[in-house]
């Protein structure tokens, strides 16, 4: 039975898949959140309350939505996005190098 299912490979795929496949979207979301900030309503998805002023303010979504993020948040957002881009580049390198 252990011949039929390669448990170690399966486990590696599952763990690494969880880390990368779920971690990258999470980091992306976190980066977006740090950069754009949340609405004063906090936990509510306050899309209905907030968009009106933004639409009036202009088309650039990030700049229009909130005041400038604090430097700390900006650095955090940039870090998150750097990791995301790094992961994509790693995936490309993996494909090109024929690692599979």
């Amino acid at each position: 039975m252990s011949d039929l299912i390669e448990w170690s490979a399966l486990g590696q795929v599952l763990v690494a898949g969880m880390l990368v496949g779920a971690g990258i979207p999470a980091l992306f979301a976190l980066g977006l959140r740090l950069w754009a900030g949340t609405t004063p309503d906090g936990e509510d998805t306050a899309a209905s309350a907030e968009p009106a002023p933004h639409d009036a303010a202009g088309r650039a979504p990030g700049a229009a939505t909130i005041a400038r993020p604090t430097p700390v948040r900006l650095v955090g957002a940039i870090l998150c996005m750097t990791v995301v881009v790094g992961a994509i580049v790693t995936g490309l390198v993996f494909l090109v190098s024929g690692g599979h």
Partner: protein, 427 residues
């Protein structure tokens, strides 16, 4: 002369399979981007086609390994390869007609196994290889993908709470396009090589190249182009099912699903546990519905897919076996031509059946969009549990009268009974 003709026919058929592979699998990468309107349908398939083309040239690591470890290489003759390819193509086209994303590589393996069974009996098949390389991964791939995409979607949903919707949908739109592009690239790299492997296998079996030869450039070129054309034409029926049929997704879910697909596909090949792109992509879309609070997953549609996945190996195998029997019963060049005739006839029948239904790439994408809006969304919006409701009213009449006969004619080739109601459900 006969040998040369046979070899040429096998190469052409392998390219035809490559074409159906691209055609069938466009949705794996692009269905979510089309469904969320991150990309226009034509733009999406064009992008995917280009990336598939590029991907095919990126690496040649797995060429010529497709049937290794699954069938005894010693019994793979040109007639066997031809019959196996026909089995794979017919199953690919049939599942496309029904709008079911099913694994092209499993169809190919199924066709080969069936043809080998017909040729030399059970001794020619390495059953442990079939179980460990085909059946077990088919069961595990969607589960892994559902878990990964579900967790990713859940995290994203939590983290984007309170962030303005305008920002999230715009940001994730780009994230989605990027991750979907990576899936397309990986598909080109992995799946074009399956056809290259088959052609190389045929060239070796036909004695045209030595057994340890690499892949000739013209093979790489023609496989890459055949797959890109297939991708560009776009299996709209499959795209529709994946993008709209399973889960109503937004860009956040789309990005999480495609990232999950890309990560699981690349990691599984890295760890040598190869999983079907289709199974992973479908599982990821399902997972994006599972992980998103409040989202509904149409498990009835998913259930039909799982049934089709279970049928892939035996059904393609049956077509492959029947083709091989036909081939050897008639014998010689006439037998080969008869098999090709069967392939052309059944493909034509499926094509004609597809033309009678509106999801068709020759109707330009505007029409497809209208149809999508008129057809799926109102039903999905008014009935919470859309899976069951969509089956009965929408295309029941059209299905019964027009597609039925064509499916009948396909069955004579040897595919097992397929519930025609599944037809309606996919639309």
């Amino acid at each position: 002369m006969t040998e040369t003709l046979l070899l040429a026919l096998v190469v052409v058929t392998a390219l035809a399979f490559d074409f159906t592979n691209g055609f069938h699998d466009t949705g794996n990468a692009m269905a979510t981007s089309i469904a969320t309107r991150a990309l226009k349908p034509r733009t999406a398939v064009a992008l995917s086609a280009v990336l598939n083309l590029v991907g095919a040239f990126l690496s040649l690591a797995v060429a010529a390994t497709i049937a290794k470890g699954i069938v005894d290489a010693g019994v793979v003759t040109l007639p066997v390869v031809l019959a196996g390819l026909v089995g794979g193509i017919v199953w690919n086209l049939l599942t496309w007609l029904l709008g079911i994303p099913s694994s092209s590589s499993h169809a190919l393996v199924g066709g080969m196994v069936g043809a080998v069974l017909a040729a030399v009996g059970t001794s020619g098949v390495l059953w442990a290889g079939v179980v460990s390389k085909v059946l077990v991964p088919a069961l595990l791939a969607p589960l892994i993908a559902i878990a990964v995409a579900g967790l990713g979607t859940w995290c994203v949903a939590k983290l984007t709470r309170g962030v303005s919707q305008e920002v999230t949908s715009r940001g994730f739109r780009w994230g989605q396009i990027g991750s979907a592009s990576l899936v397309s690239l990986a598909h080109g790299t992995n799946d074009a090589q399956k056809s290259m492997g088959i052609i190389l296998l045929a060239l070796i079996a036909g004695g045209a190249v030595p057994a340890d030869a690499g892949v000739p450039l013209w093979v790489i070129l023609s496989c890459a182009i055949a797959m890109a054309i297939g991708t560009y034409l776009g299996g709209w029926r499959v795209i529709r099912t994946l993008g709209k049929g399973l889960v109503e997704i937004d860009t956040r879910q789309g990005m999480a699903a495609e990232t999950s697909s890309a990560a699981v596909i690349l990691l599984s090949s890295h760890f040598g546990f190869s999983l079907s792109t289709t199974h992973v992509a479908t599982g990821s879309v399902l997972g994006s519905g599972v992980g998103m609070p409040g989202a509904k997953v149409r498990w009835s549609v998913a259930g039909r897919m799982f049934v089709a996945w279970g049928l892939t190996l035996p059904a393609a195998g049956l077509v492959g076996a029947l083709c091989h029997w036909l081939e050897s019963a008639i014998g010689g060049t006439a037998g080969t031509l008869a098999v090709v005739a069967v392939l052309v006839a059944s493909s034509a029948a499926i094509w004609i059946a597809s033309r009678r239904k509106p999801v068709d790439h020759t109707n330009v994408n505007e029409k497809w969009d209208e149809d999508k809006g008129a057809d799926v969304e109102p039903v999905a919006a008014t009935t919470g549990e859309a899976g069951g409701e969509r089956v009965a009213p929408v295309p029941a009449v059209a299905t019964a009268s027009s597609v039925g006969p064509a499916i009948e004619s396909v069955r004579t080739v040897g595919t097992p009974d397929t519930d025609t109601s599944a037809n309606g459900g996919m639309r």
